[in-house]
């Protein structure tokens, strides 16, 4: 994106910069009126944009088909309005019907979606012998196969870990720590790169570096 030349664009990038600084006034100083203004502005904007997107979805997936003669799509519209009975203390139970559809479809989709990719594929990948037989491939294979077994034991064996399972579950916990450490390291890097992106934006708006 090139540095804008029109008034609207320049006003846009400067307002974006000021709002950014208002937000950063909180971690760099303390809670203050500028931060609270920017925070509430964002909530209002985000909510409005989400509502507009939701209205568009409803129009596209239900209202337009109904207007086109597909009467069955009036059912989700009625169910959607039934959600608003949640505000009524006497008729709150009416809102359970749309919730039943939402929860049922989410759990049904979730259950059918986890069996193959999250259980079967993971187990197959864990116990499949590597194509290459060099030392490192064999080491990685044994590490992953035994490591996954021990870590699953640590999670699923909910009784006291003693006797034969004491050391496997302890090793499993250590491997989970390694996994969490690597995951956390990646998270730190990602958040830091986001932060440096914002610093870059500051320098771009001030024309210290090109946009």
């Amino acid at each position: 994106m090139a540095y804008p030349t029109d008034v609207v664009g320049i006003l846009g990038i400067w307002s974006a910069l000021l709002l950014m600084l208002m937000i950063y006034s909180y971690p760099l100083y303390k809670e203050n009126p500028f931060f609270r203004f920017a925070e509430h502005l964002f909530i209002g904007l985000a909510l409005a944009i989400a509502v507009i997107t939701a209205i568009q979805t409803t129009m596209r997936m239900a209202v337009t088909p109904v207007l086109g003669g597909d009467i069955v799509y009036v059912i989700p519209i009625i169910l959607g309005f039934m959600m608003y009975f949640i505000f009524s203390s006497d008729y709150r139970w009416v809102s359970r019907y749309p919730i039943a559809i939402l929860v049922g479809s989410a759990i049904g989709l979730g259950m059918r979606g986890v069996i193959i990719p999250n259980i079967l594929t993971q187990i197959i990948n864990t116990i499949t012998f590597p194509k290459s037989t060099d030392f490192m491939s064999m080491f990685n294979f044994v590490y992953i196969a035994l490591g996954t077994l021990f870590a699953v034991m640590y999670f699923l064996l909910t009784y006291e870990h003693k006797g034969a399972i004491l050391y496997p579950t302890r090793l499993g916990r250590w491997l989970i720590m390694i996994g969490l450490g690597a995951y956390y390291g990646n998270t730190v890097l990602f958040r830091m790169s986001m932060l440096s992106g914002r610093a870059q934006y500051l320098l771009q708006v001030l024309r210290i570096i090109p946009m």
Binding site: L79, A182, R191
Partner: protein, 216 residues
């Protein structure tokens, strides 16, 4: 009868929808596929309409703050309500393509995008201090956490290769292989957890989302 309508029928609908979704995946029956597809569409429409429920709730809460002129808060609530009303109105003026409205597009491109990115990036400040607290080798568990975290950090940071040329290789191993047992375990155990939760819902034992207390 009332109790049946309030509870039993609701549990039955949930169970029927769950079974329809699962059966649709495993059986290639056209009528079943059509029914599951339709229920999925219904769920999308209901969740879209439910989002407006959140907006109504938030407006009620902030409207009360403005109405009562709560000191130190009502001005910000007023800003929230005003910007929400303005942006929603601008979007509704051309609901098919709101970005054709210049002011809506401006609000989206500059304040919204900038604030969204900034608020997400603000965690960078906190994660640095959290990393300091987490990465302290107080015992073997914490030491392993520290070791993996440091190697992954040094793999990606340019300084890692400057310190020792093999550091990115070791960091790469932790990233590609070292964390696999843990991540695979999370996937497998979370899947078992979801299946267990699903079966409890199917049997009508999980009722928290209806506003009821779950039974054992």
């Amino acid at each position: 009868m009332s109790e049946v309508l309030r509870k039993e029928v609701v549990y039955l609908i949930t169970a029927i929808v769950v079974i329809t979704m699962i059966a649709d995946y495993f059986f290639g029956i056209k009528q079943l596929n059509d029914a599951a597809s339709m229920v999925r569409t219904w769920a999308v429409v209901i969740s879209a309409m439910a989002l407006a429920l959140g907006a109504v709730n938030l407006m009620r809460a902030h409207g009360n703050i403005v109405r009562k002129r709560v000191p130190g808060r009502w001005i910000y609530s007023g800003v929230l309500i005003f910007i929400f009303a303005l942006t929603t109105l601008l979007g509704l003026l051309n609901i098919n393509n709101p970005s054709t409205n210049p002011l809506y597009k401006w609000l989206f491109d500059y304040p919204y995008t900038s604030l969204g990115q900034t608020l997400y990036a603000i965690t960078g400040f906190y994660i640095a201090s959290a990393a300091y607290r987490a990465f302290r080798a107080r015992n073997i568990d914490a030491a392993l956490l520290l070791l993996a975290g440091i190697f992954v950090l040094l793999k990606n940071a340019p300084i890692g290769e400057v310190i020792w040329v093999q550091l990115p290789v070791i960091g790469g191993w932790f990233n590609d292989i070292g964390q696999v047992p843990a991540m695979r375990t999370f996937l497998i155990t979370a899947a078992f957890g979801l299946l267990a939760y699903g079966f409890r819902t199917l049997l009508g034992k999980e009722r928290g989302f209806y506003g009821e207390v779950a039974t054992a």
